[in-house]
């Protein structure tokens, strides 16, 4: 009997603390565990008894990479509970700050965390020695994403300018206009990025995923839409918990999400792209096709191309919003509390982010629930690894370990975000 173990004690180039165990017995993969040992963070518990206006600032602290996503999902969920809908220019500004977050997060992942895998470098610093112009392009592009978040959010990490109903302060026409020339460069740089990622070498590997993302009738989704899948789900956010559930597993402090009675599913760039290709501008669609991905893409390694396609889209969208901007008279709508529950999903760079809040008449939070994209993808990561290792047992231990780490990084997992905890019941006899 021959047995083999692949073990990565500490995953590099991912956010948070996680490791990986894969057990192979007689040329069959018998066990895959993505071990998450990031401590649970109890955000949902300490949101209780706080004021309904606080979640955008508190939940932004869950993540240093996608704080805007937390601000957007929490604001929308609480506005829904209070019967308020933000429209017009303020809605566009929300899309714009989300564009900024997608650009900075995707570009960081493409250039600094993921590309070194494909080109055989330990990290971006090593890669920069041979590809200085490429890395410079990535850094400049990322900075434009940071600049958008800084302008609208007050600072680039953990923005402080987002509130229920809109913003504390909105930019002047000239402040936003100043971004225009940078975004024009960014559109070209993002197109170059799509072309460049299309030239990377990709392992031949596809999976039959259940993709889940938002879908909006008129636009590629950021803040709004129905939750849909390619296997028949088409629901509103308030039905989310009827269709999806989180399960506790022993080897991970991150909960595993599943479609009820069905199993794992995938959120994030690949899911959004596959479910919303028709909503991309034709020039972006064309760029994707030229980079070698069709309207559907089931190869998780090619998510680096899809991220670059979404970056191109975000640059286009940001430029259009900036060109069209006229400063609104008021920076926000008034949001008065009432006893209600609000559910909402938005599209974080890593995928669907669900929030719900129950508040009382005074706006005091009675219950909060947050389901982050990385925890939704945990099971899909493990299934990818199982399928990939089974198919590549002929590889040396070193090569297989490298590619398994690369497989995890396909997801750009944000382990810190995914760590919350099941309610704990202690029964004593």
């Amino acid at each position: 009997m021959k047995s083999r173990t692949i073990k990565v004690d500490y995953l590099a180039r991912v956010e948070g603390e996680g490791g990986l165990n894969i057990r192979i017995k007689d040329d069959k993969v018998v066990d895959v565990k993505l071990r998450i040992f990031e401590p649970p963070r109890f955000f949902e518990a300490f949101l209780r008894d706080r004021k309904y206006t606080e979640p955008p600032d508190i939940t932004a602290r869950i993540c240093g990479i996608c704080p805007v996503a937390y601000q957007m999902s929490s604001s929308h969920a609480l506005e829904t509970a209070c019967g308020v809908s933000v429209d017009g220019v303020l809605r566009k500004l929300r899309r714009l700050i989300y564009c900024g977050e997608w650009i900075e997060s995707h570009v960081l992942h493409i250039y600094m965390l993921h590309a070194p895998d494909f080109l055989g470098y330990q990290d971006a610093i090593e890669m920069a020695k041979d590809y200085p112009d490429v890395v410079q392009r990535g850094l400049r592009l990322k900075k434009i994403g940071n600049d958008i978040v800084t302008l609208l959010g007050g600072r680039e990490i953990h923005p402080i300018n987002v509130r229920l109903g809109g913003f504390y302060k909105v930019p002047t026409n000239s402040e936003l206009k100043a971004l225009e020339e940078h975004l024009e460069w960014a559109v070209d740089a993002a197109l170059e990025t799509v072309r460049w990622t299309g030239t990377l070498p990709f392992p031949d590997f596809e999976q039959d995923y259940e993709f889940v993302s938002l879908r909006h009738p008129d636009e590629y989704p950021f803040n709004e839409g129905r939750v849909v899948s390619n296997k028949g789900i088409d629901i509103t956010a308030d039905q989310f918990l009827d269709y999806f559930e989180e399960q506790h597993v022993k080897h991970s402090t991150s909960l595993h999400s599943v479609v009820k009675d069905r199993g794992e599913y995938l959120v994030g760039p690949l899911a959004r792209y596959n479910l919303n290709f028709d909503k991309l501008p034709s020039s972006v669609q064309q760029a994707a096709k030229e980079a070698g991905i069709a309207e559907t893409c089931n190869n998780p390694f090619k998510s680096i191309i899809v991220r670059s396609v979404e970056t191109l889209f975000a640059c286009h969208e940001a430029l259009a919003i900036v060109k069209d901007y006229n400063r609104p008279k008021k920076p926000c709508l008034e949001v008065k509390p009432r006893a209600a529950t609000g559910h909402w999903c938005t599209e974080a760079p890593r995928g669907l982010l669900y929030h719900h809040y129950t508040i009382d008449d005074d706006g005091v939070i009675q219950d909060a629930r947050i389901i982050a994209p990385t925890s939704q993808n945990q099971k899909a990561v493990e299934k990818d690894l199982l399928g990939f290792v089974q198919k590549n047992l002929h590889l040396s231990q070193e090569d297989l370990t490298w590619q398994c780490e690369q497989m995890v990084r396909n997801y750009d997992p944000c382990i810190s975000c995914s760590c919350h905890f099941l309610k704990l019941n202690i029964e004593r006899e």
């Binding site: 956010e15 600094m112 965390l113 610093i125 020695k129 940071n146 680039e156």
Partner: protein
């Protein structure tokens, strides 16, 4: 100027740039920010102060083009709390494990420095100070030994800037 809104045009037109790095809510991890703040409060001319840069990669943009940069951060190396490390960041090799990154999705000061070296984005002169911390748990305020060192370092930096 101070804070996170970094106006690069302003920075490049000045002479010395002081960058304090740390988390003000993790006790001695605040030491870099503390030193930077104290230097700013002296109101010295020809100095720019940046208290905290949220994104390690942004350091490359912040210091690019500056003639002299002084970076202050806390370190954990096992030495006596309050001990000071001082590196000529342009010419000396800096132990990577001394200044660790706060996030694997971002990069540490030393990584930013390495990347800047590779890409030719280093300032002309750069001094990196590391102050050994004692207490990094949740909370505010520096340990007495760290506070003492920090105040001495503030004086030393002010003196250097006057030269």
């Amino acid at each position: 100027m101070s804070g996170n809104n970094i106006d690069e045009t302003t920075l490049r037109s000045r002479q010395t740039l002081i960058i304090g790095i740390g988390n003000p809510y993790r006790k001695d991890d605040d030491v870099g920010l503390y030193v930077a703040r104290k230097v700013r409060e002296t109101g010295l001319e020809n100095i720019d102060v940046v208290e905290g840069v949220g994104d390690g990669i942004a350091l490359l943009n912040v210091w690019e083009g500056a003639s002299r940069v002084i970076v202050i951060d806390s370190v954990i190396s096992g030495r006596e709390p309050g001990s000071v490390y001082c590196f000529d960041a342009i010419n000396e090799e800096i132990p990577t494990d001394l200044f660790t990154g706060y996030s694997t999705h971002s990069i540490s000061v030393v990584d930013a420095l390495e990347l800047a070296k590779v890409l030719g984005k280093l300032p002309q002169r750069m001094i990196l100070y590391g102050i050994e911390g004692n207490e990094f748990s949740l909370g505010v305020g520096l340990s007495p030994q760290v506070q003492k060192t920090a105040d001495k370092l503030v004086e030393r930096i002010i003196e250097e800037c006057r030269l």
